[in-house]
Symmetry: C2
Subunit: 415 residues, 2 copies
């Protein structure tokens, strides 16, 4: 099944909005063995949109369009659908009731603009929306499927899951060849070194595919295998993963899409360990990441954001002389911060972060990007030095990534 | 100038990576009055890529390609360029020196795989890379421009700014018609109500364009005007903005792309106010957002993440009886947290957040999504109740957005 995703919106072309919808749709289609070969983004322009519909209609069996379904004048997708399929708009009672219900729930009065959302192209089956007022459209014609979904991610995702995926699954029918993927997430090793350590790839992969996807925090290895049944594919995948782990296992922190904070949260929970955090330059980002994981209260009770020196002294009991002698960004202060937060929190682990994120704050001997991460348990206290780059936000993220990896390796006993 | 952006990579089609490059490029081109009409995403597949090159070559004057330039076997963009232009690879000494320098700087040994990055299509001018090892390619042929940039965002952005934008600016020459845009960011009012409040749009806009871009935190209004000179366009833009502000000004927190935390940071700095934060359920996200703003140390010295009850009692001096009587998620505890953090921090403002982010933690009378934001200055203490949705991460973000808007309205004296 040839599939194409069309995203509509000037805001995406001019860089004001990230195209998360195309990514989400692509991801969900993989689960039912539909692989998108191409996607496109088109401006809010009737001619451009209809041209793209024509072009995609000829080349594909499945076309999914998102965006441009809102109630205001700049949303033109619905009228493009009407023109392209040479159909007309008809009011759908069920959709109208849905729209009214949404307004009732929000305690707001409905007006004409909103009621117009119930006008649906005659050729289409409306896809109901419980999160917003714009319905989606499902059209089957000439053995092709053409679907239009709202641009608001939550609404689009709801319709994909509640309606489109089950519908397409039925249409696809029995699957003759299974393609399965897995991701091994690494951190702390560059792409080319990873590639080299794996050695002879042909031998290692035995027909499977391997892709390297680097970002600023690490390299993701994506393995793709094909087999006749799901079981065979799963076994082949596991076999290749084992071989890769044998060569670069210590750098792999996760399989599938588990984030590093989820891995750390899971490990802390499994080992029944508690942690407290003292963050200076990261300003709460590490605590925020750890508390994104449901159930974080099992291992995390408090964090101190000691952005200035007063709170380092008053709350964390860092010595004034240490601050004066070595400066706030130093190994010595990092250690005292970690010990301080562990003492007042009575946790197994105390972790601290102090550094210079930029753009200002550098001194002659301390550049932007300099970071110390302090770490202590009931036996020892240490601090590790890092030098990251120039960008404030990226530095905050690289620092927290390094801190999380430090916790992971500590728990697993990896050097 | 017809421009098209091609992003290459399976990872984008299957939803593992967001297409931030196409957005960044589109955004930068707007500054030099080049408007992208269409963009596409293509799989890591030679045939698909070359087909897309052909298709775009016929329809456009400027084609910008990103991705697939890495050193590993799954990066095929360079060989597609060679085939499409019927050219060959030649070693470029300058690029080779750049690659060697990068390895020296990182203290790593260079090998054959990395040296291959210096092979450049003969038809192209290499675009030098100081952040990574893959050079970009700039090709001019038949009065068309074809550019290939690496997929790593920082490297792509560096080449856009240091090389491509100046080069294209020169090529575009004198601009005959100026198109300018601005964004008015609103929060706390739904799209259809905003639309209604603006009244007769034709009269209001007088030929300009207005787009409504809603997301879960608010609605962005993008105004686009066209005029013969930059000054005329600017004046027209300001005139329309004034009219819009007259109708819905209290909901507008920002012009241009300033985020709400940047607005709040700027206001706190301008008024020389200081703030301290006590976060429970948001786990440090608000402190993180406020410290993303350079210069945050002027108004922010500390934050307490009191995720559990012990830290609320020990550090913030919340009364044990209050916790027992009303529960941690209550107006009373929110007020005591705000007062507590303000007392120990000696700031002008104390702000606290306590709530239930989900998926667990709800009780019979307190649902997931319930949040209290406490607020105090030297005169009064209050707490405001909110009920958000079911999603943990979205709840954290909506809560911090509401807290920031509360601070903004307090400083500006908006009811």
């Amino acid at each position: 099944m040839n599939a194409h995703i069309i995203t509509i919106g000037d805001e995406i072309l001019i860089g004001q909005t990230l195209n998360s919808n195309a990514a989400d749709i692509g991801n969900k289609l993989v689960d039912i063995q539909i692989f998108v070969k191409k996607a496109s983004i088109v401006a809010d322009d009737e001619t451009e949109i209809i041209n793209e519909f024509k072009d995609c209609w000829d080349k594909n069996d499945l076309i999914i369009v998102t965006g441009g379904l809102g109630p205001t004048h700049d949303d033109v997708t619905r009228q493009c659908v009407v023109k392209f399929f040479n159909t007309e708009l008809v009011e759908d009672q069920e959709v109208l009731d849905d729209v009214k219900k949404i307004f009732e729930k929000r305690g707001r009065k409905i007006d004409k603009i909103n009621e117009c959302q119930a006008l649906v192209p005659k050729i289409a089956t409306p896809i109901r929306n419980i999160l917003g007022t714009a319905p989606g459209f499902y059209i089957e014609k000439d053995d092709k499927v053409f679907v239009v979904l709202p641009g608001v991610p939550a609404e689009m995702n709801y319709m994909m899951e509640s309606f489109l995926i089950p519908k397409l699954k039925e249409k696809v029918g029995e699957i003759k060849s299974y393609s399965l993927r897995s991701n091994l997430l690494t951190t702390g090793i560059p792409e080319s070194l990873l590639y080299k350590r794996l050695g002879n790839l042909k031998e290692l992969l035995d027909g499977a595919k391997l892709a390297f996807l680097p970002n600023q925090f690490g390299v993701k290895m994506r393995i793709t295998v094909k087999a006749e049944t799901e079981i065979l594919a799963k076994n082949k995948l596991l076999e290749i993963e084992q071989k890769i782990r044998g060569k670069v296992g210590r750098y792999i922190y996760s399989r599938t899409e588990e984030t590093l904070e989820e891995v750390v949260g899971r490990l802390l929970t499994e080992r029944e360990l508690t942690i407290s955090l003292a963050e200076s330059c990261t300003g709460g980002l590490l605590s925020n990441l750890l508390t994104n994981v449901p159930g974080a209260s099992k291992y995390f009770e408090r964090g101190i954001i000691s952005y200035g020196n007063s709170s380092k002294i008053e709350i964390l009991k860092v010595k004034k002389q240490t601050l004066e002698k070595f400066g706030a960004v130093s190994e010595e202060v990092a250690i005292q911060m970690a010990e301080g937060v562990r003492n007042i929190s009575k946790t197994n682990i105390g972790l601290s972060i102090t550094g210079i994120m930029g753009p200002t704050g550098a001194t002659t001997d301390k550049p932007v990007g300099l970071v110390y991460i302090g770490f202590c348990d009931d036996k020892t206290s240490t601090a590790k030095k890092f030098v990251f780059g120039e960008d404030r936000i990226i530095n905050k993220h690289r620092t927290t990534q390094a801190a999380l990896e430090l916790i992971r390796r500590y728990i697993l006993g990896i050097e």
